[in-house]
Assembly symmetry: C2
Homo-oligomer: 350 residues x 2
DNA sequence: CTGAAAGCGCTAACAG
DNA sequence: CTGTTAGCGCTTTCAG
């Protein structure tokens, strides 16, 4: 690429150190008043085309960039939103952020990302700072998909994403874990699997319960029992995936599919299946949950899994927020549907 | 028509829904002038304690929150910085963001996180928006540790983190990959390993070259040859880790340690080592690179690895930026040292 | 069509 | 100590 900012109109003028000039400078250079310059730059109709051109040219020559803070002072809108997360690794926040960026358009709205790191006091601090910066709205992303305390009445609209608020008067957007569990098992059933087991994480997580419920639902609908006699709750780790698989295999060696409650667990499952010389997917199909690329794509074989559509969640959060900024916000809990990502760890039986 | 603000009969009105009040409201409630209210709230010395108390109480009663945009208009400082990244997964950006948050203090400075997703145009857009929001500084985080195009002359200080700028006049902060490679091999040598091989990623990455160079350096210093006859360059994936390990084992079955250029690759290495019934670390020690928790902690056994200290990098970037905001920025490339994280995949040889 | 004037909410000299 | 007076950079009536 060429060096320096691209300046289409400015032929004769030497390029300057970009950007500290004000509307007054532009007006002066163009030989018009500040008011006219403002109108010209904002595409207001009542400006002669010729004048507008002069102003635009002046603005370009000076690399003029409008001061959004001043604009915000007047319009009472900062063009910023806050994304307040407690999710250390950014595992959920990042996709949500990207979705929000998409929906807002990078020119219109910028987002402040703040990580409270699970610390309540830090969250209060960030909240104060954000409000003080006059964000137009807030997206709150929790660390786990269980209800979290409401922030209460705030002067800006708030959307709870991933973790719902514990106050039903707030608007929350969450992923559909029950639907995800159902989808996973449905996929297995369609592939002719009949002896399906379920290994999942910490039972204190609503997500673990919900995914299991969805799985059980779908099984029941098909008149199929759950293989392995129980849902294997444990921890969200590969180690648990390995341990549970060993126990499961002892209890019920004839299983032909395992639905893992997370991709991490699925990796542990695969590990032990390989040790036991059970072919995946020929003998046992494995499906994960999360579509965490680094884990799922690299697995041997690559992992079929459920994607929670977090980008879409982020996009929707942004849209709802946008609508709420000049209107009123809904309430309750809205659910985003999951999506099946087919890779090689599942295949039709025979 | 007179458009002046409507005078609300705001004598003893109940508290309002948090936060839309202005300094004028506070002053009125406290029965002082706006200027005095401002001074009282900003801890300026020339205010009687009693008056200050009155003002503070009024501010609290109204949940007053100062409008940072207005403040910024005056002080010419927004109290915000932009973090411009191209790093899809936030793998590098997030630790850097956290370090920066730490250093700035959440009350003082908030950070805009923008992801350009490797798209040059999107980057320009974000840059414009950020400048327009009058950020006090910019941290630019690249997707890979190789030089990236400079943003050129900007009206605010810029720090390039992780990926250095291609312009030596800019200030860049990078991790020390040569030192990391040296550290990894040093650790292996101290554990009595003598037949050390190196499997790493895409040779077009400076990081791959640097880590290899560090490893080779340390080996040479010890008078040791590189096991496996060559550095095994390939891809940053588990699959390559597996493939390379198989070839390596064929070529040189007697190795007692493998230095993997990333944790992903290390996972592949471990996988094949297990298949070949080689005990880790008893027979072969394995060390990774990145300390990517999800991969390293969950490995079997948990992976000893090199941490690039990205939080520290973020913290340092923030400090440098802070200093630069009222001063001048240095230039050139500054390097952050790596850190060894010992887990169970390495151990002294007998 | 264009410009003068009045602020948005706040801070910073100055006077009282 | 406290209030008055100017703005920060921009938009927006409302006259010319």
């Amino acid at each position: 690429m060429s060096r320096g900012p691209i300046e289409p109109g400015s032929s004769a003028d030497g390029p300057r150190p970009a950007g500290r000039s004000t509307l007054r400078d532009v007006a002066k250079l163009a030989g018009v008043s500040i008011a006219t310059a403002s109108k010209a730059l904002n595409n207001q109709p009542q400006v002669r085309a010729e004048t507008r051109a002069k102003v635009i040219q002046a603005a370009e020559a000076l690399s003029f960039s409008p001061n959004t803070l001043a604009q915000g002072l007047i319009t009472q809108r900062s063009g910023t939103v806050g994304l307040l997360t407690s999710d250390l690794e950014g595992r959920f926040s990042i996709p949500i952020l990207m979705g929000a960026e998409d929906a807002f358009g990078s020119d219109q709205t910028s987002v402040f990302l703040c990580d409270a790191r699970g610390d309540n006091l830090r969250e209060r601090h960030h909240l104060r700072a954000l409000l003080s910066r006059r964000v137009d709205g807030l997206i709150v992303v929790g660390a786990r998909p269980d209800a979290r305390p409401s922030l209460g009445e705030l002067p800006v609209p708030v959307i709870y994403a991933y973790s719902p608020s514990d106050n039903p008067a707030d608007l929350s957007l969450v992923t559909d874990n029950v639907g995800g569990g159902r989808l996973a098992v449905d996929h297995l059933i369609r592939h002719g699997r009949r002896r399906i087991a379920h290994i999942t994480g910490d039972p204190s997580y609503g997500a673990a319960q919900d995914r299991a419920r969805g799985a059980l639902d779908r099984l029941a609908q098909e008149g199929l029992p759950l293989a392995g006699d129980q849902v294997w709750f444990g921890a969200w780790s590969e180690a648990w995936g390995r341990g549970a698989t060993r126990m499961l295999l002892q209890r019920d060696p004839g299983i032909d599919a395992i639905f893992a409650g997370s991709d991490e667990i699925a990796r542990g499952v695969l590990d032990v299946l390989h040790q036991e010389k059970l072919a995946v997917p020929a003998q046992v199909a494995v499906i994960g949950f999360d579509n965490w690329n680094i884990l799922a794509v690299n697995a041997r074989p690559p992992l079929t899994t459920i994607d929670m559509n977090l980008e879409e969640l982020g996009r929707l959060a942004a849209q709802r927020l946008f609508a709420a900024i000049d209107g009123t916000l809904g309430s309750g809990i809205e659910t985003i549907g999951p999506r099946l990502i087919t890779r090689e760890s599942t295949a039709p039986l025979d």
